[in-house]
């Protein structure tokens, strides 16, 4: 990546940071998902009655034995199998606004033509736009993870007097699967943005694209977390490979003329 691409990424970051409304909405949704909801989970796990039905359900799931407390087992289940799924949703949501406006936003402000007169190829401009949104998604994701870990662990320590250990699956998801899925989504949304003629068109496309993906992921991945780490690892690499391929092929057939139409 050269200096010119870095300049575009930096400029795109600045424009998000300078738009206070956008910046706040970027932070609120992840905070709701990573502070409010987990706290509700922790509290409900704490107050869960010692019901034999719940005991029976827990026996069916591969939660780590070693604790006799139903509440702690339930918390372990939530922490290691349900919360990770949020980290597939958060980065896509966080980056979708920026990605959807990446090209069409510049087109509407008449700044795209100026950018096209730069000594960068279309592919480099496209990659800069994708990278900017992708980095934002990863930053929001990492920030949310840190906040969530601190809040949840503090709550558990306060209520149960112990810590919960994250499993290896957490690491794989956070470091590989989540970036892979997020890069696929960002590339597709930025591509949509380059083809769209208006901001509405681009945002509608992004929602049309993201919603099914989000539902699909949310539905399926609680189960995937139950799989062993190797399968998760393979799945992550498949996603990363697909993302790389998409990024490489996405601008094929793109012309300046088409972008400025």
């Amino acid at each position: 990546m050269n200096k010119a691409m870095q300049a575009i990424i930096k400029k795109d970051f600045q424009s998000v940071a300078s738009n206070r409304r956008l910046f706040i909405s970027l932070l609120i949704v992840p905070l709701v998902l990573t502070i409010f909801l987990p706290s509700v989970f922790v509290l409900s796990a704490y107050f869960v009655p010692d019901d034999p039905d719940i005991q029976a359900m827990l026996k069916l799931l591969p939660v780590s034995p070693g604790s006799d407390s139903t509440s702690l087992l339930l918390m372990d289940l939530i922490f290691n199998y349900i919360l990770p799924v949020f980290f597939l949703i958060i980065p896509i949501m966080a980056s979708s606004i920026m990605a959807a406006s990446s090209f069409v936003g510049e087109k509407e402000k008449h700044t795209l033509e100026t950018l096209l007169y730069s000594p960068l190829t279309l592919h480099q401009i496209f990659r800069s736009k994708v990278l900017a949104s992708f980095l934002l998604s990863m930053l929001v994701s990492l920030f949310s993870f840190l906040v969530m870990t601190i809040v949840v662990e503090a709550e558990i320590l306060f209520l149960f007097g112990s810590f919960l250990l994250p499993k290896i699956n957490w690491l794989i998801l956070l470091a590989l699967l989540s970036p892979g899925v997020s890069l696929i989504a960002v590339t597709l949304i930025v591509r949509g943005s380059a083809k769209a003629r208006t901001m509405e068109e681009s945002q509608q496309g992004a929602v049309f694209l993201i919603m099914p993906v989000l539902l699909l992921i949310a539905g399926q991945f609680t189960g995937v977390m139950l799989l062993n780490a190797w399968i998760l690892l393979i799945l992550s690499f498949l996603c990363i490979g697909l993302a790389w391929l998409l990024l490489k092929k996405a601008v094929k057939g793109f012309t300046y003329e088409m972008l400025l139409r």
């Binding site: 033509e113 100026t114 960068l120």
Partner: protein
């Protein structure tokens, strides 16, 4: 090496509109080329073809030795473009905008800062450098666009109506900047405008375009010859001999059409020798405006 070379360059839009028709021209270093024509004549299309934003449907062009439709990024690193549609970011200040484009053009931070300051001062924008672009007037935006196009010291500068919307003072500072660039640094300037008087002040060579066709190409003198309009000799005098055959146009005011400036001393000597008194002499050659209207009128007649 020719800076801009186009050969039979043509562009027909997908809708079937032929915007440019077989244009051939070549421009060298230090030339200020005035590309003149009414709105919709094909001026902007030509700039877009020469900068690689559009792909020609026929013919080809080279800018700084590169084909802009095949290697646009190489052309862009050596050219600067100012057009109405190439705007900058409203939420950034004038200075931030220029520094951003400086880094996009791979200037080092120090180079970028020096160049930005120099250009802002030359274009009278230094006092407004730290204001957001949103607060700039049209004229200030236009001058900032010119600064942006010059940030990487381009060898070819494309200007599409650079002074429309400028007040006379700013227009003058823009003009002197363009003139200096061409004279001192040998920058080739491709200037599109429909303001003919403005073009005549600045350009060394002209191209007249109408409905996608290049009607004429050359220096002012070459164009004057092409339309075969002579000059008009106007004098203030008394006791003019009848043989001189001047037309009286007012109190002591006379005029006569001549074919070349060589006729002037002969006519004046004739008047003086036969006892006439001369108070003033003025030779009016056809202006760019006269030539332009004469050529476009010819074109319309031909089409009829």
């Amino acid at each position: 090496m020719e800076r801009i070379l186009s050969d039979n360059l043509s562009k027909t839009y997908p809708g079937g509109k032929q915007a440019l028709c077989h244009m051939s021209l070549s421009l060298g270093a230090g030339e200020v080329f005035g590309f003149l024509g009414p709105n919709g004549a094909g001026k902007t299309t030509t700039v877009k073809l020469l900068t690689g934003i559009l792909t020609p449907t026929e013919g080809s062009c080279l800018v700084m030795g590169y084909d802009p439709s095949k290697e646009p990024e190489k052309t862009h690193s050596l050219t600067g473009v100012v057009t109405e549609h190439a705007q900058m970011y409203d939420h950034l200040t004038g200075l931030e905008n220029l520094l951003f484009y400086a880094s996009v053009f791979n200037l080092s931070p120090q180079e970028g800062k020096d160049r930005t300051r120099n250009l802002l001062e030359r274009l009278g924008l230094w006092d407004a450098a730290n204001q957001p672009l949103a607060t700039y007037s049209t004229g200030m935006r236009q001058r900032l666009s010119l600064a942006r196009a010059l940030i990487h010291d381009p060898q070819v500068l494309f200007l599409d109506e650079p002074t429309s919307g400028l007040d006379p003072e700013s227009a003058q500072s823009v003009n002197s900047l363009i003139r200096n660039l061409a004279r001192e640094e040998g920058t080739t300037v491709f200037l599109c405008t429909h303001q003919l008087r403005y073009a005549q002040e600045l350009c060394t060579r002209y191209g007249l375009i109408e409905e996608g066709k290049l009607l004429a190409l050359g220096t002012l003198e070459e164009l004057q010859k092409q339309v075969r309009q002579g000059a008009l000799l106007q004098i203030s005098a008394a006791n003019i001999p009848e043989t001189a055959a001047f037309r009286k146009i007012g109190e002591m005011r006379y005029e006569k059409e001549i074919l070349s400036k060589e006729e002037v001393p002969i006519l004046i000597r004739q008047i003086v020798e036969s006892g006439g008194d001369i108070y003033s002499v003025e030779t009016k050659f056809p202006s760019l405006e006269d030539i332009y209207f004469s050529l476009t009128a010819n074109n319309k007649e031909e089409r009829k």
